[in-house]
């Protein structure tokens, strides 16, 4: 199959060139063959159909039905489905549990995001220096990301075990008392953030590593010729070049952390004394343990509003930069 830029002549009986030019979109070299454009018109629907149908069924429809549900007193057992207006929302705003679990979610997000960005950056910078054993470092830092949440919480429950767990054994060897890693209300959230950093930092590390590998070598060569030392190169070339990817990582991480559920549910079930329960777990508890689907939906939408505001404020500028 050969390609030529010139020899494309329009077969007879096809749409006039003006039409193809009018319908062509910017950024592509369309408008070369009118017939192909007409063909594209018809097949586009077929190609987009499976995705559009799946999205409609499993994303758009539940979004709408959930919104409707949030205005009813629907229960999981099927009883009651009357329209009750904003009653669920009024209840949500005056429910201290909503604010508390929302705060836990935000607190976890703050605690986890900073180390998840900083540690990932440090790891990537260390690995990128080109020391031997690349394979080993990448493997070590990324491997925990491959573990499923149940394995991660199993492992960490064992690490955090009072007295016989690894951490307390070490502390005892240093003459320090046992810590209530996941049993002390004041410590539990830090422990969960610690586990989360260990578990998921590998993904951000790979993002940073890929960005580092994308920095043009010539810049370093030029700087070296100009006499810039290692630190100078780090602060004048490497870090400024990582600004965009850092913005992306921060946003992705914030969005991911806001949706925390798995490791908290599996490790502490939201305890001790509800001190680590995130809002998604509250939604789950209300909906599937208390059977109040309508109220659970309303809480979901309050939470969604929070994420949406955050996304619109933070994501839009990054999109423009990129």
């Amino acid at each position: 199959m050969t390609v030529s830029n010139t020899g494309v002549t329009a077969p007879p009986g096809q749409a006039p060139a003006a039409r193809s030019a009018a319908t062509s979109r910017p950024g592509t070299r369309a408008g070369t063959a009118g017939k192909s454009l007409r063909e594209r018109d018809r097949s586009g629907y077929l190609f987009v159909a499976p995705f559009a149908i799946a999205t409609g069924l499993f994303l758009v429809w539940p979004t709408i039905s959930g919104l409707w549900m949030s205005f009813t007193n629907q229960s999981l057992t099927g009883t009651g489905s009357e329209f009750i207006g904003f009653a669920n929302y009024a209840e949500a705003f005056s429910d201290p549990q909503v604010w508390q679990t929302l705060w836990h979610t935000v607190w976890f997000t703050i605690l986890s995001t900073v180390p998840l960005v900083v540690v990932a950056l440090v790891m990537a910078l260390l690995v990128h220096t080109g020391l031997p054993g690349q394979w080993v470092w990448r493997m070590s830092f990324f491997a925990p990301y491959l573990l499923t949440s149940a394995v991660v919480s199993g492992l960490s429950a064992w690490l955090f075990q009072p007295d016989i767990g690894l951490l307390d054994t070490w502390l005892a060897a240093l003459g320090l008392g046992p810590v209530g890693w996941i049993t002390d209300e004041n410590v539990a959230m830090f422990s969960i953030a610690l586990v989360t950093v260990w578990w998921t930092v590998g993904f951000n590390f790979l993002l940073y590593l890929a960005a580092l590998q994308g920095i043009p070598a010539q810049q370093y060569e030029a700087a070296t010729i100009d006499g810039a030392g290692g630190w100078r190169r780090l602060f004048s070339i490497t870090l400024p070049q990582l600004k965009t990817i850092t913005g992306v990582i921060v946003v992705l991480q914030l969005l991911a952390s806001l949706k925390v559920f798995d490791q908290i549910y599996l490790l502490t079930k939201g305890g001790p004394n509800g001190s680590t329960r995130p809002i998604l777990e509250y939604v789950y508890d209300i909906g599937f343990t208390n059977y109040r689907l309508g109220y659970a939906s309303a809480i979901s939408y309050v939470f969604f509003a929070l994420i949406l505001v955050f996304t619109l404020v933070r994501l839009m500028p990054t999109r423009k930069e990129a």
Binding site: F51, T148, A211
Partner: protein, 303 residues
């Protein structure tokens, strides 16, 4: 230029970049022996910290249950044993859950990649009425956190009779608007002349899609597939909501029930954790290069 030639050129360019990068890494760090030693030390310490919990879990899994309940030790004083593995494999549905996870993850991966690639092709290479609106909707869908839909989605699955079925676990997971956009960006970069020439030779859209677009996008498709697979294999919340029958549970969900059932059986807990961890760790070792490249080529590298 033929398709084969084009692919060859792309490969060559990738190889060249890699060689350049290798030279670059020498420059990012000073030649000072001190700096190199400090960096290496930091790497060794960090890597050890990161591997330690897994190694310790592995050792615990080979201990006798009685010793696992004693204060942590690195070397089993009562000797090594496979008891925990035997117990777990014969007394729990671990192998069934693994099989379920594999089926679910494979189905999710195939369906997600296929429908996302098709949609990306439609957005990138075809024109149709409402394309702009659909693209806009897809972007909006990226911002929708699926987790908040568990309640209405569960209701929907009940109505459709899909609770405790593979379809119920799989279908809601195949909607991945982010992947559509990653793929679209890649398809946009395919030389338009190539596609136009094929069209003039009489190729329909299906032929274009299967014989030109997909083969040229192999690297990105593999990268997307790997990430979708990892995501589906590890997904907890949705399978947890939609399955109640142990026979349909996926590995993460099933494991979370074992933990409750056995309470303090640490050796067994660790044994099932090790068995559960093994498949993905093997996949990673086999595809390590691809995964790292994948991050770069999916455009998530942020250039």
């Amino acid at each position: 230029m033929s398709v084969a030639e084009l692919v060859a050129v792309r490969r060559a360019r990738a190889l060249q970049t890699r060689a350049e990068n290798r030279a670059l890494t020498k420059l990012t760090i000073g030649p000072s022996r001190w700096v190199r030693a400090a960096t290496l030390t930091a790497l060794v310490v960090l890597a050890a910290l990161w591997l330690l919990p897994v190694v310790w879990g592995a050792i615990t899994s080979f201990k006798h249950e009685a010793e696992a309940a004693l204060p942590a030790s690195w070397w089993p004083s009562m000797g090594w044993t496979l008891d925990a593995y035997q117990q777990v494999l014969s007394n729990s549905d671990l192998l069934i859950w693994m099989w379920n996870s594999l089926v679910v993850a494979v189905l999710v991966t195939i369906l997600t990649v296929l429908i996302s690639a098709m949609a990306a092709f439609a957005f990138s290479q075809t024109l149709f009425k409402g394309r702009g609106l659909l693209q806009w909707l897809t972007i909006a869908a990226i911002m929708m956190p699926g987790q908040i839909l568990i309640v209405p989605l569960f209701r929907q699955m009940q109505a459709l009779g899909l609770v405790d079925t593979f379809a119920g676990i799989v279908l809601p997971q195949i909607v991945a608007p982010v992947m559509v956009f990653i793929l679209k960006r890649f398809f946009d970069a395919i030389p338009q002349e190539l596609l136009d020439a094929a069209r003039i030779d009489g190729a329909g859209s299906w032929r274009l899609f299967w014989t030109i677009v997909l083969p040229l996008s192999r690297s990105i498709l593999v990268a997307v597939a790997i990430f979708v697979f990892i995501g589906a294999w590890n997904n907890f919340l949705w399978p947890f909501i939609v399955t109640t029958d142990p026979q349909f549970m996926t590995l993460p969900v099933g494991l979370s029930t074992v933990k409750n059932a056995y309470g303090v059986q640490y050796a067994q807990n660790m044994a099932s954790a090790m068995i559960a961890a093994l498949p993905l760790l093997l996949v990673f070792m086999l595809f390590q290069r691809r995964i790292v490249q994948g991050v770069a080529t999916t455009g998530m590298g942020g250039q």
